[in-house]
């Protein structure tokens, strides 16, 4: 009886109560134009700035007295992708500057704006950068700016508190259109008699974390929602996309100094661009005198408002905080002989063509990678994909990262199977030495089309399932471990 009672009390008590220390800072990472923009099949040169690009830093540390229990530094960047080597380079840049911090517990994540600078020199043909800033020049400057913000956030950390909540915003839309012959097409025409449906589900949840100072003043906000920052805005201008509008609105209402970290939950098949109701959307935007970017930002900020006031009733300072970093291997997508032959042919065509196309470098990269992967797979290599996985418990919230453009279904699986009250997922995060690209579902692979083809899938459904299972196992383990404490 006594044992039963002890067990009961142990599980009823808040797990691993500790002090939460919070630090935050924002860096402006907007280069002076002209700027080569990344994300499309050819480089675009931006000569104007529509909105500033920022890197927003959140430093967390849990302490029991003077003892550090765990820590994390998360950086949300208005960039398209954290390209291979960038995070590693940034950690090196910071070496020795963050006293007492385990550098492995820092990760970078991208919002996926397609209006941010190229950060990989050979992403496109150098000739096409014209007179614009060279990526190799931008990256050290980016490190410097982000580094200052990280150091500031870490050094400024002080006793704080956290609250979490779930709101909704119809911001992301599934972009894969399915036709009567079973094929699918990204951004395919839906006004077509052969149109049969939108391929997958859409997740409109907006997970919110609010961080407060010791006097419960809102200091920082982290939000994740299943959409990339790809609303139709100004085209070839530098822009943080809808996150600029969302941040502005949040700061107007909740304080000019609030640091807003925008994260992208698994959304490989979702963007803000609607595939349906386009005419109605356009009309409503016109009636509201807003462009698409502003409209999406309005919805995201409204979701935040809907949650922020409510969760302020449940601010906690003594939450458990645990952060695990795992290096894991996922089964890689195996390349068939036919896929290899096709890519090889395309590479040869590009290599022998006399007239260069602006899309060549981009295309050559992906098809060249298929050739390389196939040849390696024939010799027993490239069978797995190594990745860094961050899994955290913060109070009743689980957080987990992945470096991919992971299709929504996988995020839904993790959320559905997670023991946490809320599961805060971040894609395009913690990229290692390899590119990550899309990870499609089995139904997407069957439908084919851009984003579900081998050229853009280093990992396929098999690897994705392993990622889901491992993430869920790690979260379960955290909950079990925390409960034991």
């Amino acid at each position: 009886m006594k044992i039963a009672l002890v067990c009961l009390i142990a599980f009823a008590l808040p797990v691993g109560a500790a002090e939460l220390w919070v630090g935050s800072a924002t860096a402006d990472i907007t280069p002076n134009p002209p700027v080569p923009l990344t994300g499309n099949t050819s480089v675009r040169i931006a000569r104007e700035i529509e909105s500033r690009l920022t890197a927003n830093v959140l430093a967390l540390e849990s302490r029991e007295g003077d003892r550090v229990l765990d820590q994390a530094i998360m950086v949300s960047c208005d960039l398209c992708v954290i390209r291979p080597g960038i995070q590693e380079g940034f950690r090196k840049h910071l070496a020795g500057r963050l006293a007492g911090f385990d550098m492995n517990k820092l990760f970078l994540a991208a919002t996926h704006t397609h209006q941010a600078p190229v950060i990989q020199q050979d992403r496109y043909d150098e000739k096409d950068y014209e007179d614009a800033l060279q990526p190799k020049e931008y990256v050290p400057w980016l490190y410097q700016r982000m580094g200052e913000a990280v150091v500031k956030a870490w050094e400024n950390r002080a006793k704080g508190a956290v609250a979490w909540g779930l709101g909704h915003a119809v911001a992301g839309h599934n972009r894969r259109v399915v036709y009567s012959d079973g094929t699918a097409k990204m951004f395919g025409n839906t006004n077509d008699p052969r149109f049969r449906g939108i391929e997958g589900y859409e997740d409109h949840g907006v997970h919110v974390l609010c961080f407060y100072d010791a006097r419960n003043r809102l200091q920082a906000v982290a939000m994740t929602l299943a959409t990339t920052a790809q609303a139709a805005c100004s085209g070839n201008k530098v822009s943080a996309n809808f996150w600029d509008s969302a941040r502005r609105r949040i700061r107007e209402r909740h304080g000019a100094e609030v640091c807003v970290l925008g994260f992208c939950a698994p959304a490989g098949d979702q963007t803000p661009r609607p595939q349906l109701n386009k005419k109605a959307e356009e009309r409503m935007q016109k009636l509201r005198d807003l462009n698409h970017c502003e409209e999406v930002g309005r919805r995201v900020a409204a979701a935040f408002d809907d949650v922020a006031g409510v969760i302020a009733k449940d601010i906690r300072a003594d939450v458990p905080f645990v952060h695990r970093v795992r290096q894991i291997e996922l089964p890689a997508r195996i390349i068939t002989e036919a896929e290899y032959a096709e890519s090889k042919k395309i590479c040869e065509e590009i290599d022998t063509r006399k007239t260069r196309l602006k899309t060549d470098a981009w295309k050559r990269h992906f098809h060249g990678l298929v050739v390389e992967r196939y040849l390696a797979q024939q010799k027993g290599g490239w069978k797995t994909y190594p990745m860094e996985l961050h899994v955290m418990r913060l109070g009743d919230v689980a957080m987990a990262t992945n470096p991919f453009e992971l299709f929504v279904d996988y995020g839904v699986q993790i959320e559905a199977r997670s023991p946490a009250v809320q599961t805060f997922l971040i894609q395009l995060a913690a990229t290692g030495s390899l590119p990550a690209y899309y990870v499609p579902t089995p139904r997407a692979v069957r439908g084919g089309g851009y984003s579900a083809e081998v050229t853009h899938n280093l990992v396929g459904p098999e690897g994705a399932q392993a990622l889901v299972d491992r993430t869920v196992a790690e979260i379960n383990e955290l909950w079990k471990t925390s409960a034991k404490k």
Partner: protein
């Protein structure tokens, strides 16, 4: 030069607008709550309601476009807090209207159901109800159709010159309820917190299409809300209008107690408001909001979406819009019953044949056997349905009698020539679930032969026919 001027004139005329007409609007709401215990419709098991948690109502909206004294076209649409417009109900209402609406083509009236699972059964013999102490379904149906007929007459007689606006908001209400597993099977309300879970089968349409009707002074008199999700959050054994009740209450608090609110359920055969994952977060948020019930939370979201739509649309309220209303009788092929399916249905029907408590299950299976026999004998007739297609300004409205899977509604919307397209399911009659091909492949309740009179082939024909009618309407209007 002459041709150029002519072309310019044509362009100008088109730009100026389509033939202007005056829109007349009338509304009426009647209480259709029974005053005696009733059997409730919607579940396999029999439930008797002895009380009403909320009233259930029917709201009629009468529209007429006029040019001076000349009536150009009309529509009277009635939204009813019941599970479905069962066979014969709409005809009964029209019968009761004979001679009461001079000059009105009674075919231009249609009813739709909100799909509340807490409203009376209207068909005798569906459940084995007690002989005494419970209102007979046909008696309730008689009461309900009389009240609906009264509402229609009242709305028509109340019509006055009015205005209309349309807008789109968003409300995250619908949740796809079909969980798909690693072996390719699907299950309605299947568990999602299992390793075999792979995805939710289909799409959800979270757009809230809204029509706003005002008087000449721009006071809001009626609104029609098209939400692609049936209202079946409430179970239990009491009469209940489900989430539409608090929606109406909240809107009337803001816009007056006499506001007429029509609830139109969009294509949502595969969705409900019940969550398939994320329940803990939802419960916690509702608790923090002050222990808000799930019903009130849904209503809050719908009202917020409505307000958002109204906020934009109020800048573009019109009185000279076109109203055109086409009513067609169309035929759709029945889903073919296979040998394997009939064998299974026969076995199941035999199991339930003698147990009165299993009447629902027996009929569910026996219908398949009867269909198969008619199919084999070559006596099976196509499924007949009444299709209403309307143009109101830049808005299209189209009905169907099914629990139509979302994909079909999405197809209609995507291919429609209108700025906004309102798809109203469970209208005119009751056709059961109309599943997609992917749902039929996955199987499970809602996509098996017992659930589907019409299958994907018929679904596609319905979409094509609706879109074609809409296009014809737009083309004709342009002339």
């Amino acid at each position: 030069m002459r041709t150029a001027i002519l072309c310019l004139l044509v362009v100008l005329l088109t730009a100026i607008g389509l033939p202007a007409a005056e829109l007349w609007v009338g509304g009426a709401t009647v209480d259709i709550t029974p005053d005696q215990p009733v059997g409730l419709d919607g579940f396999r098991n029999m439930r008797i309601a002895k009380e009403a948690a909320t009233p259930i109502t029917a709201t009629a909206l009468a529209l007429e476009s006029r040019e001076g004294e000349k009536s150009l076209d009309a529509a009277i649409m009635v939204s009813c807090d019941i599970i479905a417009i069962r066979a014969g109900i709409q005809d009964k209402v029209r019968e009761k209207l004979q001679g009461r609406l001079p000059g009105v083509d009674l075919r231009k009236i249609f009813l739709n159901a909100t799909h509340t699972h807490s409203a009376p059964v209207t068909e005798d013999g569906k459940y084995a109800l007690p002989e005494t102490g419970v209102m007979k379904p046909s008696v309730y149906a008689d009461f309900m159709t009389s009240r609906i007929a009264d509402a229609i007459v009242q709305s028509w007689q109340n019509r006055k010159p009015g205005k209309v606006g349309w807008g789109q908001g968003q409300a995250v209400i619908a949740q796809n309820r079909r969980a798909v597993y690693a072996d390719g099977t699907a299950k309605m309300y299947g568990a999602t917190n299992v390793p075999e879970f792979r995805c939710l089968e289909g799409y959800e349409d979270h757009n809230l299409e809204v029509l706003f009707f005002g008087d000449p002074q721009n006071r809001l008199i009626a609104t029609a809300i098209n939400l692609a999700c049936p209202s079946q959050e409430v179970g239990g054994n009491a009469i209940h209008a489900d989430f539409w009740h608090p929606v109406r209450e909240k809107l009337r608090e803001r816009h007056g107690k006499d506001l007429f609110v029509l609830a139109w359920t969009g294509a949502g055969g595969d969705v409900v408001s019940r969550l398939m994952y994320g329940r803990a977060a939802d419960e916690r948020m509702r608790k923090l909001r002050g222990h808000v019930s799930r019903l009130d939370e849904l209503a809050r979201r719908i009202v917020n979406g409505w307000l958002d739509a109204y906020d934009g649309a109020r800048n573009d309220i019109r009185s000279d819009v076109m109203l055109r209303h086409v009513v067609k009788d169309i035929e759709l092929p029945y889903r073919k019953v296979t040998e394997e399916e009939v064998a299974e249905a026969r076995k199941e029907a035999a199991k339930y044949a003698t147990d009165p408590k299993q009447r629902w299950n027996y009929r569910w299976n026996q219908n398949v056997v009867e269909r198969y026999e008619a199919q084999k004998a070559g006596t099976e007739k196509p499924f007949q349905m009444e299709l209403h297609v309307l143009r109101l300004g830049d808005v299209a409205i189209a009905t169907n009698p099914f629990e139509l899977y979302t994909d079909y509604g999405v197809q209609m919307k995507a291919r429609s020539p209108a700025i906004q397209t309102f798809v109203i399911q469970l209208a005119c009659s009751s056709g059961g679930y109309l599943a997609t091909e992917r749902a039929v492949r996955g199987g499970g309740y809602g996509a098996v032969i017992q659930s589907n009179r019409v299958g994907p082939e018929g679904g596609q024909r319905l979409v094509d026919c609706t879109v074609q009618t809409l296009k014809e309407l737009w083309k004709e209007s342009a002339k």
